[in-house]
Subunit: 341 residues, 2 copies
């Protein structure tokens, strides 16, 4: 590595003895220049530390290599895991993923979308806040940027990829009814369409099986799900307000909080003899297998959702026609039987 700092492509052209337009071609696609030229450039790159200025590049390219990823709450292990998978797929495809979190707030989601749009990304993968999203803002964004919506099905963009909540909730309700007392449904005020869909499906599934649906709704409006599960769970147990000894939670985080509540109240959770409660969740969060007892739940197919989302986005970016209809891809949940129910 030589002392001299290269400040722009012009200088690098001088020291490498390659013309600037050829260098520009090379940096855009190394395969587009002759092998001998490529070797000369690359040996120069080893001597002089130079990288093209990203801002100047993107200013002129209609199509940047940026892909925006927006999630409602990055500290939620579900989204953390989805982002991890998606990022990897983007990187491996030569894109540059940029992650934004709405931190659960409408205003920050709008900000993130605005910032993202001004980055002129090739495309975006977004999981909207849902209920508290500013619909028109999100819609306008999707009209400007090729976008795949995942997880939370806000009716915008050209495609949606997510979990088939009707199938997955049906699966676990069937299981719970088949193996013990029919479940009640434990939920908090829904933050997105998934939560509503899950509750409605629970009700329908119970009715289909000839049982009386019983929904337990507790307060709490932020993203601190385990806390809500714990606090409200403690209260419900104290007040003996749970209408069934089998509790299906709207999601795993709530279930983990509820399991903690049961533990602290001295109630044994599980399906064996001597157990007072059965608790089941939904999602198969990364932490679900480490609760005590491990959580029976329905696994969302994280990898399938991530892969299909990215796949469709790449098609959109490549200008492939996906037809007039808005595409919807639902992946089936998979029953994960552990000790809690």
């Amino acid at each position: 590595m030589v002392e001299k700092r290269i400040r722009n492509m012009e200088e690098f052209a001088t020291v490498s003895g390659i013309s600037r337009p050829t260098l520009s071609k090379y940096f855009h696609d190394p395969g587009s220049v002759r092998a001998t030229t490529r070797e000369r450039i690359e040996s120069a790159l080893e001597q002089y530390d130079y990288r093209p200025n990203i801002f100047a590049i993107n200013q002129n390219r209609k199509l940047t290599k940026t892909i925006g990823i927006l999630v409602p709450y990055l500290s939620d292990p579900f989204f953390a895991e989805m982002v991890r998978l998606i990022e990897r797929l983007c990187i491996d495809a030569g894109y540059w993923p940029v992650v934004f979190s709405a931190h659960g707030e409408t205003e920050l989601e709008n900000n993130a979308l605005a910032t993202l749009e001004s980055l002129r990304p090739a495309g975006a993968l977004i999981a909207p806040l849902g209920r508290s999203s500013d619909f028109e803002v999100v819609e306008r964004f999707t009209e400007e940027v090729p976008t795949v919506v995942f997880d939370s099905n806000l009716e915008v963009g050209k495609a949606f990829v997510g979990n088939d909540n009707v199938q997955s909730i049906g699966l676990i309700v069937d299981y719970l009814c088949r193996t013990g007392e029919p479940p009640c449904f434990f939920e908090m005020p829904p933050v997105n369409p998934n939560a509503n869909r899950r509750r409605d499906t629970y009700v329908q599934s119970m009715e289909r099986l000839g049982h009386q649906p019983q929904v337990v709704s507790v307060r709490g409006g932020d993203w601190d799900f385990e806390r809500i599960g714990l606090d409200e769970g403690m209260r419900l147990i104290s007040e003996r307000a749970l209408p069934s000894d089998t509790i299906l939670c709207s999601n795993d985080r709530l279930a983990i909080g509820l399991i903690a509540a049961a533990y602290q109240k001295g109630l044994r959770v599980g399906h064996g003899p001597g157990c007072a409660l059965r608790i089941a969740g939904h999602d198969d969060h990364p932490w679900a297998q480490f609760s005590c007892p491990p959580l029976t739940t329905v696994a969302q197919d994280y990898r399938a959702v991530a892969e299909r989302s990215v796949e469709i986005l790449f098609k959109l970016i490549d200008g492939e026609d996906l037809g007039e209809e808005r595409q919807m891809h639902y992946f089936q949940g998979r029953l994960v039987l552990r000790a809690s129910a």
Copy 2:
């Protein structure tokens, strides 16, 4: 909102009746133009949807408003939480945080640093991988970009902010020795300097108190800590290989896995009568309070670390002289007594 799309600042200058240099000043700092002018600009902004092109802005500014945040593993709840706090502080200060994760891999860390550097950020807050970081790459980065290192004290950059592991481990070792059988130390191959420091401090603390230190090291080299805690915990319990009934884990994630192992082996964890094991952790991870039983641990001061890191970075960015010496800020841990030990 009017139909016509504004394509650049020139056009916006025409429609708003304000000259382009004044607009440029306004977008850089709204307070730098006269109130009447500001009002005219802002009323025009309501009519015409215009935002300056980020790429063109940053191409000319030596100092961008971008702040890079790099963590070793974004799905780790500790880092997810740190990123959440840091992002908020940056946004509130008018900066534009960009988050990168090394996904636990040296190569991706190097990539992220390279990408980040080419963004010409005003500054960066990085938690290096540590042991598997490419020291020279990280060092070179910190020479180019004002950087605050947090959590993992790689000896680079102008400042480090993190937890005082000597104090915090001393605290919990004291507590455990005072209230029951002296602890053994449960660790996996250290991924960063913190893990080493914690083990060494454990050994010293035990010797200081006149006890025989006993370190249980298990294999496992990735970031799947709970899994390691569970699998190796099951093995150790089966083989009766734990040298003490009190186990201090290198971090909370390991402890949560170990608690799950104890539960699955039918061992009661806690400090009451009838308990077979005491298990303690370190960090006060967001999930520590929801384990069964809730985890006794030492809380890192997340907020203090985030705030001090950002504060120092802003000073660095403002060109304040922090002196020749590399600054090191250690925050004290706080004992969090719950039911597990």
